[in-house]
């Protein structure tokens, strides 16, 4: 019988007059993996908070660490169990002013009660053990100067270097490209096998649960509504909420996407032998040529840093290409002055997974109205009509119009971007990782909104993603990027059925759920 690591009994947490956890009980054994699965606010965050030692207000229930006596959750200070909190990169867990290495080494030293030099050596060893992790020297930078995936490797290695007995992974793989996330999930499981720690993972969607395996607890309103292995939950749900949850997961999948004929209408975007200055040097004449017609869709698939965003910047005339020609709406972008380019870009909309693309100071109404005010001489009433209609379509009409963007949730910001895109009636919509970091329900809603936007306004979709499922849900064709170069292209259905390149296969595998 495995050693009991943690037993949570009748844990109730209330904040701002609302029950976040309602008589929550859970036991975790050594070497066990437990995934708390649910939408934002289902209570998994409260579990993490209590176990991380910040219970907040109105807490009752007991926590029992290892063989120790149960303690009231509210009084937990230093736990008898070596517990490590593993946050996600988008949560920005590190100070922006100091180097990543110094911060992580300090955390390891404090946890182990060891000198800095020892902690540094432990950190370096942990990094060496992790296949694909950058070397220690790569972390002598501030968090903003490090790529997202490198930072994630650092956080994981620091957690492993603390020789934990329990790892509290709070959406630790959130915001990462699927291939990177999968690699980190493998590393987590490998370290678990090596060190024997228990994992408690808070997840928003099923993908992570599928990678980690173990016990999945579906949570809602602070309670566990269903429990079991992911393979069973994915196919046979007992609880109505679990059914709804997995239905939402499925609705963001390609089966729900109504395929449209590609290549209809006039060309919106044409690229002839385009080479990006930011991409690594290639053979001469290795430029990219493609055409995107009105109403068509194209996914640019690849890892972060594979050259997709650099290509989009060139396509929109934000950067000059090293070679080649870009024609946007029948106008050669390369010969236009900045002023004319701005006029041309009026017909372009952007929707991105990054939450800093909207001015945080602006209000909800101003954000949606700005393109109308800037581009068209419309009366106030007309602007208000378009604005209200767009906000209604994305489900934000009930929010106060003077609400600042900084006060909105990530999901609301994404929907606001869609509303802003709708009022612009664009010819081309550039959509960059639109579902990253959202829970299953929010992903489902975003997918529906984007499909609806495409069906009603008819823009061409240029989707940048590392997730084949997202590409399949929104596009018909795709180009797979690696190291700034297109390695494979064609209809998405063909790519999924018979991928030729190893990179394509890796991207597909990273988004597949395991068979039951």
């Amino acid at each position: 019988m495995s050693e009991r690591r943690l037993a949570i009994s009748e844990l109730t947490v209330a904040a701002a007059g609302r029950a976040e956890l309602d008589c929550f009980s859970l036991a975790i054994d050594a070497g066990e993996t437990v995934v708390l699965l649910g939408e934002a606010g289902c209570g998994k965050e409260a579990v993490m908070r209590v176990l991380a030692g910040a219970p907040g207000e109105a807490v009752s229930g007991t926590l029992q660490y290892g063989g120790a006596q149960p303690e009231r959750a509210v009084k937990i200070g230093r736990t008898p169990l070596r517990t490590v909190y593993l946050p996600s990169v988008p949560a920005q867990p590190l100070s922006p002013h100091a180097s990543v290495a110094s911060q992580l080494i300090r955390a390891i030293a404090r946890k182990l009660g060891a000198p800095r030099a020892t902690a540094r050596a432990e950190f370096a060893l942990a990094l060496e053990r992790l296949e694909g992790a950058p070397p220690l020297s790569a972390f002598d930078k501030t968090p903003a100067a490090l790529p997202r995936e490198s930072l994630a490797w650092g956080l994981f290695a620091a957690a492993f270097a603390q020789t934990p007995e329990l790892v509290l992974a709070d959406h630790a793989l959130s915001g990462l490209a699927p291939t990177q996330a999968r690699q980190l999930a493998r590393a987590l499981l490998a370290e678990q096998k090596r060190q024997g720690f228990a994992i408690l993972y808070a997840a928003m969607n099923t993908q992570v649960a599928a990678w980690l395996g173990g016990r999945v607890l579906v949570m809602r309103h602070g309670k566990i509504v269903e429990e079991g292995p992911i393979a069973r939950l994915a196919t046979a749900q007992a609880h109505a909420y679990t059914q709804t949850f997995f239905k939402a997961v499925a609705s963001a999948s390609p089966a729900y996407g109504a395929p449209r004929a590609s290549g209809r209408g006039q060309p919106v975007l044409q690229a002839y032998g385009v080479e990006c200055a930011r991409a690594s040097a290639k053979r001469p004449g290795d430029g990219l040529t493609f055409e995107l017609r009105r109403g068509a869709s194209l996914a640019l698939l690849g890892e972060d840093g594979s050259g997709r965003s650099a290509l989009v910047r060139v396509l929109l005339g934000l950067d000059r290409p090293r070679a080649g020609r870009v024609v946007l709406d029948a106008v050669d972008v390369g010969i236009l002055a900045e002023k004319m380019l701005l006029r041309l870009r009026r017909r372009v909309a952007m929707i991105a997974g990054a939450d800093d693309l909207l001015d945080p100071r602006m209000t909800l109404w101003d954000t949606v109205s700005e393109p109308l005010r800037a581009h068209l001489k419309l009366s106030r009433e007309l602007v208000a009509n378009y604005r209200d209609s767009a906000l209604k379509r994305v489900g934000l009409a009930s929010l106060p119009g003077d609400c600042a963007v900084r006060d909105l949730s990530a999901f609301d910001k994404r929907r606001l971007q869609v509303a802003r895109a709708i009022v612009g009636a664009p010819l081309l919509a550039v959509i960059d990782e639109p579902l990253r970091g959202l829970d299953a329900f929010a992903q489902s809603v975003m997918c529906d909104l984007l499909r609806n936007f495409r069906a009603q306004e008819g823009p061409a979709f240029l989707v940048i993603t590392s997730d084949f499922a997202v590409a399949q849900a929104l596009c018909e064709e795709a180009m797979v990027f690696k190291d700034g170069r297109v390695i494979e292209r064609g209809l998405l259905a063909d790519l999924v059925r018979a991928p030729k390149e190893a990179q394509t296969k890796a991207l597909i595998e990273a988004t597949l759920l395991p068979s039951p």
């Binding site: 929109l316 934000l318 701005l342 006029r343 041309l344 870009r345 009026r346 017909r347 372009v348 909309a349 952007m350 991105a352 990054a354 800093d356 693309l357 909207l358 001015d359 945080p360 100071r361 602006m362 700005e370 393109p371 005010r373 800037a374 581009h375 612009g424 664009p426 550039v430």
Partner: protein, 261 residues
């Protein structure tokens, strides 16, 4: 805590503004009235702040001096905000990167102490322009600060996103200006007020600023140099009034680099 300090600062500035507005009512005697009492009389019920070397009522003089100082500081602050802050904010968006040489020039001028710049400009014009000179002397630092802030906004992801969807530069500039004024104007103005007041008072103390009969607090402290060791009240009360004004301005700016404009 910062909000409380700011509230105290603005409340203090409000009280000072009322005192300045009513200085002719609150002061017992008109400005620069000699022989109101015996020379160098200590504080007493008749003269709460005592009298100076010429028998002037120090309390009345402090009230009039505060009005002059606040008036000059207000003018100087406006000059700093317009020629430094506003120009620096807009200069980033000048075509053909014309703002960059200006930023370089402001950086060079900003490395010179504002006091020297102010004295130089007064020398080139006249002491009647002391307020404008103090404002201009503080403008380079305000320019660099506003320029850098505006540049970070112009390079932000949300600005790039807006440009990628065709939002014109003028719209972005207007947007940034509106939000900057709404969010930061009061603290910027308060910071500038503190900085130019220090410069103005020092300029006057050295005799390059205000001239009789319109004496400001700096000039009053300078005039009390000869009598200070025998009659502390002649310099202490003007200095306290000056300190109170600068402290309120710095509190209103959340104690944020009070010496910087």
């Amino acid at each position: 805590m910062r909000a409380i300090l700011r509230a105290f600062g603005f409340a203090g500035l409000g009280v000072i503004a009322v005192i300045v507005g009513l200085n002719n009512v609150l002061a017992r005697l008109p400005a620069d009235t000699p022989h109101a009492g015996d020379a160098l009389s200590p504080p007493s019920p008749q003269f709460p702040f005592g009298t100076d070397l010429f028998g002037r009522d120090v309390a009345s003089e402090v009230l009039h001096g505060l009005a002059v100082t606040v008036g000059h500081a207000g003018v100087a602050m406006l000059v700093t905000i317009v020629m430094g802050g506003a120009l620096g904010f807009v200069a980033v968006r000048f075509p053909l990167r014309a703002g960059t040489p200006l930023r370089w020039l402001a950086g060079v001028l900003g490395s010179v102490p504002p006091l020297f710049l102010a004295i130089l400009m007064i020398g080139l014009t006249s002491r009647d322009f002391a307020a404008e000179a103090a404002g201009l002397a503080a403008a380079p630092l305000a320019f660099t600060r506003a320029f850098d802030r505006s540049r970070s906004l112009a390079r932000s992801r949300h600005s790039e996103f807006a440009r990628a969807t065709g939002i014109p530069m003028t719209t972005l500039l207007r947007r940034d200006l509106i939000y900057e004024i709404r969010d930061n104007f009061l603290s910027t103005a308060a910071r500038s007020l503190a900085a130019v007041t220090i410069t103005l008072a020092t300029v006057s103390f050295f005799g390059f600023g205000a001239s009789p009969p319109r004496r400001d607090l700096g000039l009053m402290i300078a005039a009390a140099r000869e009598s200070y060791f025998d009659a502390w009240w002649t310099a202490a009360f003007p200095a306290l009034a000056l300190m109170a004004f600068i402290l309120c301005a710095r509190l209103a700016a959340s104690l944020d680099e009070g010496e910087q404009p």
